[in-house]
């Protein structure tokens, strides 16, 4: 039962990307300097996420336990 680091990153990276998108929508007047920085970060996250999306394997672990 090892912790999977990359999948933790997926959820949090996705959330960060969502926050960036939200930021662009919620700002009445986007500060172009900040906007560019955020956009750059967004692209970075997107490419990481897409890389992870190509991961196809799921791991199945059998739990040895008898109840009856």
């Amino acid at each position: 039962m090892s912790q999977k680091k990359k999948t933790i990153d997926f959820a949090s990276s996705f959330e960060e990307l969502e926050k960036i998108t939200q930021w662009f929508d919620s700002e009445e007047n986007v500060d172009v300097e900040v906007g560019l920085k955020k956009f750059e970060r967004g692209l970075e996250l997107a490419s990481e996420l897409k890389k992870k999306l190509s991961e196809v394997e799921n791991k199945v672990e059998e739990i040895k336990k008898k109840f009856t």
Binding site: G42, E57, I63
Partner: protein
């Protein structure tokens, strides 16, 4: 009569009960129809078990804790238990340990009754249903390895998403061991530490009749689903099948495959979503940039307009200036001519031309002889040319 042994009523009943215990009660079940079903003080259950023709009646007794299904009058059941004569009332009764509804009709009725009970208790309340994490990392799978459901679930899971750890607990999904297996599975997963605990539990099996699904309709299993700290997705059989676990679970999937669909997102959809987010942010950013450049453009326009306005004004002023020149210019020229004449008359050269001379000493025009010394050198300027001379004689007058 005196030759016979005399015993008390209690002793006699005890003897009867000892004899009754010789009956191999565990080897059979008694099947009949329930009538006069009663519950006293929420604890004691009594009912009559009758044959179809109604001639034979068996009084039955049990506690509410022993009753795992919901029963009512008219229901056909099988009971397992031991016969006993109760001293106090002199009544022969069956001490029931287990009741099982018989036949699809009775099972369905028992199911409906339990469903109603749990519903009234609030086990199905939508308000308590938890949402699942969008991107689960760990999934606890509770099903039989031999069931088609197992393969279906994993296949759809792999088609849709990757990078997930599935922890499979192999359980009986039907038969005698099913209920305790399912209870054990929920206990196992819920007792794991926070870091080991799955993000979601999937309880699934193929379809079947009420008899096959009995474990999924069991009250204790339904309560285990209800009490799970981990959100539960339940997917049983075919779309038309339903189980009590379905209703209690946080998410009700229609089939094992649908359970996989409910648990993980589709990677293509997520890819699209990521692209849309980037595109949206980009549009917003570009929009802002073009708005900013529009502001600059507008400012430039305004400044340009001011400059050209000033230009116009200057041109206009110049025009006006030249337009009025003819009015004042001749007068000015006359004046200038006048000044010129005066100036010309004052010109010392004109005086010299008349034969006068200008005497200077050390560059200063000499107007008085008093300061002049004999022998000093003075300059004399004539109309044409000049010369230097010495003072030989002077007269003051």
């Amino acid at each position: 009569m005196n030759t016979l042994r005399t015993i008390s009523v209690a002793e006699f009943i005890k003897l009867v009960n000892e004899t009754l215990r010789l009956i191999p009660s565990q080897e059979f079940v008694v099947e009949g129809e329930i009538s006069d079903f009663r519950i006293a003080q929420d604890k004691w259950i009594s009912f009559d078990l009758k044959d179809e023709n109604g001639e034979a009646v068996l009084k039955c007794f049990m506690t509410t804790w022993q009753l795992r299904v919901q029963i009512e009058d008219g229901m056909r059941v099988q009971v397992r238990g031991t016969p006993k004569v109760y001293e106090r009332y002199g009544q022969f009764k069956m001490n029931v340990q287990e009741v099982e509804p018989v036949g699809e009709g009775a099972l369905k009725r028992a199911y409906e009754l339990l469903k109603k009970k749990l519903e009234q208790e609030g086990l199905f309340d939508v308000s308590r249903k938890r949402s699942l994490p969008r991107f689960p990392k760990r999934i606890g799978l509770i099903t039989s390895r031999d069931a088609a459901a197992y393969g279906d679930f994993l296949q759809i899971l792999n088609n849709r998403w990757g990078g997930v750890s599935v922890f499979h607990l192999n359980v009986h999904v039907q038969g005698r061991e099913a209920v305790s297996d399912l209870l054990g599975a929920f206990e196992y997963f819920n007792e794991l530490s926070d870091t080991e605990r799955p993000d979601v539990l999937v309880l699934t099996r193929g379809g079947g009749g009420l008899e096959d699904l009995h474990a999924f309709n069991d009250e204790s299993v339904a309560r285990a689903v209800f009490g799970s700290k981990i959100p539960v997705v339940c997917g049983v059989g075919h779309e038309r099948d339903e189980s009590l676990c379905d209703f209690v679970a946080d998410v009700r999937a229609s089939t094992p495959s649908n359970a996989a669909e409910r648990v993980v997102p589709n990677r293509e959809e997520v890819r699209y979503e990521i692209e849309m987010m980037c595109q949206h942010s980009e549009e917003r950013l570009l929009n802002q940039l073009s708005q900013k450049s529009l502001i600059v453009e507008r400012a430039t326009n305004v400044i340009g307009r001011i400059i050209s306005q000033q230009n116009e004004r200057l041109k206009h002023l110049r025009q006006r200036f030249f337009d009025v020149t003819h009015v004042w210019a001749p007068a000015l020229f006359d004046q200038i001519d006048g000044f010129e004449k005066i100036l010309r008359q004052l010109d010392p050269k004109r005086v010299l031309a008349r034969g006068y001379g200008i005497v200077t000493i050390n560059g200063q025009v000499l107007k008085d002889v008093s300061s002049l010394e004999i022998g000093a050198s003075v300059g004399v300027q004539l109309a044409k040319g000049s010369f230097e001379s010495y003072v030989t004689k002077k007269e003051n007058n």
